[in-house]
């Protein structure tokens, strides 16, 4: 029940394409859903986060879509660029609990020029 399932494991898109990464969770106590971007040799960096009381959130080229009834959420990257090539992790936590993030298994994104 503590798992967050992420797919696909890897993704290749052309520059300008819109990669979509999907995550699903079981624990209905989760109420904080961040996405992290990780470049090789670096720590994860927060991209965007959403709470279950909204269905969509946009920050720049990154959009989270949230389906509370299905317990699923996804990341869309608009107008993807080669510099977006990285590993993306979804995560979940309880906002008012201690800061334990449960991460998905990651998606390696390659944006070809």
């Amino acid at each position: 029940q503590q798992q967050v399932k992420q797919s696909p494991q890897s993704l290749i898109v052309q520059k300008g394409g819109i990669p979509i990464i999907n995550c699903a969770y079981e624990n209905t106590a989760f109420d904080y859903f961040p996405w992290y971007q990780q470049f090789p040799g670096k720590g994860p960096a927060l991209l965007i986060a959403i709470r279950p009381d909204v269905s969509e959130k946009k920050e720049g080229r990154f959009t989270i879509s949230f389906n509370k009834s299905a317990k699923q959420f996804s990341l869309h990257i608009m107008d993807s660029q080669p510099g977006d090539s990285a590993t993306y992790f979804c995560a979940a936590s309880i906002r008012t609990g201690f800061q334990k993030l449960v991460f998905g298994t990651g998606t390696r994104l390659l944006v070809s020029p």
């Binding site: 720590g43 994860p44 995560a91 609990g97 334990k100 993030l101 990651g106």
Partner: protein
């Protein structure tokens, strides 16, 4: 401002040895968390400390321990190292102890190889 700093960046240890990893949070941050990231997987939560007290612990054996000092820096200790402890150990800091209105910031990690 400096971000989350971790040391050492890389180290190699032998099975059975002990290791200490260090973390300095962002200035003003009072919470430090530790995560283990095995190659090809997402980070796994080990500990959170806030105001020098343990607030949460993940599903890791007692060989793993940590502490937070009065200046909010932290150490992660792993005893009796196993080959499976080889991983990137990430430290994260935030101002307060929950996610309510808070972001956690990760350091670049300490790569531990156990041979």
């Amino acid at each position: 401002d400096a971000g989350v700093t971790q040391s050492p960046t890389h180290l190699i240890k032998t099975r059975g040895q002990q290791v200490t990893l260090r973390c300095s949070p962002i200035s003003g941050h009072k919470s430090v968390s530790w995560y283990q990231q095995v190659l090809g997987q997402g980070p796994q939560f080990i500990f959170q400390y806030y105001e020098k007290e343990e607030r949460g612990r993940g599903n890791f054996p007692d060989r793993f321990s940590a502490r937070q000092f009065p200046n909010y820096s932290s150490e992660l200790n792993v005893n009796a190292l196993l080959l499976g402890d080889s991983a990137l150990y990430l430290c994260a800091s935030s101002y307060s102890g929950t996610f309510s209105g808070n972001t956690i910031y990760f350091g670049e990690g300490s790569w531990l190889t156990v041979v």
